[in-house]
Amino acid sequence: MLTEEQIERYSRHIILKEVGGKGQKKLFDGKVLIIGAGGLGSPIALYLAAAGVGTIGIADADVVDLSNLQRQIAHHTKDIGVPKVESAREKMVAMNPDVTVKTYQEWISASNIAQIVADYDFVIDGTDNFAAKFLINDACVLAGKPYSHGGILQFDGQTMTIKPGESPCYRCLFPAPPPKDAIPSCSQAGVIGVLPGVLGTIQATEAIKFLLGKGDLLTGRLLTYSALRMKFREVPVKKSPKCPVCGENPTITELVDELDALNVCDLEKA
């Protein structure tokens, strides 16, 4: 049951016919895992907390660096040196004490991801490297867990929602990670600060729609965004019968780390 204060707090949700009291309760009962507490993870964490998503997990081993603050809006200047998950939790709980924030101050890997993902209804990829993006895809597909893929660089971003078994997964369009020497990093290539705000809020919207069971998810289509041209484009994507994880003869049946794909945005610390 919602308290009077909660009815007031979520009143602009509750008056939406797609949400209502029942939908707000679904959000309260919802569990969303955010992997990465950086550029994408920051707006995702703040909006999910504000929306009253009851349990939010956030995973990141990193600490806040001065060069993060131009885009990672969950972290403030006073947080430099503080674990990102702790910094994010502080802002989320300050914004909305109703939510439970579970922090995982560790890098996700083949040895821990399945266990972490198992506790959640929906997963959001806010990571900055291909090793993690492929691992999240494989873990979610093997566990049948819906998730939102997101990626950014310079002025461009892309996102797609994956419903394992129903819609194409990341490996359907991108079967294996690129060699690490080919990967441009944010520290080398740069990223405009507002870019993760645009992509992250789309990813958060998908999590909220999934919990509500309303609308159409961004499945079977890759949404691309160009900040410079201020254009969104949508590219239809089909499941690949040859996909190594969700195709007809999958070769990936257990989780392995893609050791060849380095961190993209954190090379300054490597």
Partner: protein, 74 residues
């Protein structure tokens, strides 16, 4: 044959966004990548008619080829 070539993100710089282009029947994707001066190691995804494709795939009249760079930051 007519191929619709769509370029994304940084691949558009100095090139184009979407173009209908003429190629001989059976042209492989790698030929188009080379013509457009797109190094294979910079490529994230290649799709033909909404499905993943590899550079050695042959194209057919009316195909839509979409080429994306690596976008892996967060």
């Amino acid at each position: 044959m007519q191929i619709t070539v769509k370029l994304f993100a940084t691949f558009r710089e100095g090139r184009f966004s979407v173009e209908g282009r003429e190629y001989p029947e059976g042209t492989r994707i790698a030929v188009i990548l080379s013509e457009l001066n797109i190094p294979e190691q910079q490529i994230g995804m290649i799709m033909v008619n909404a499905r993943h494709a590899e550079p050695d795939q042959e194209l057919h009249d009316g195909d839509t080829l979409a080429i994306f760079p690596l976008v892996g930051g967060g």
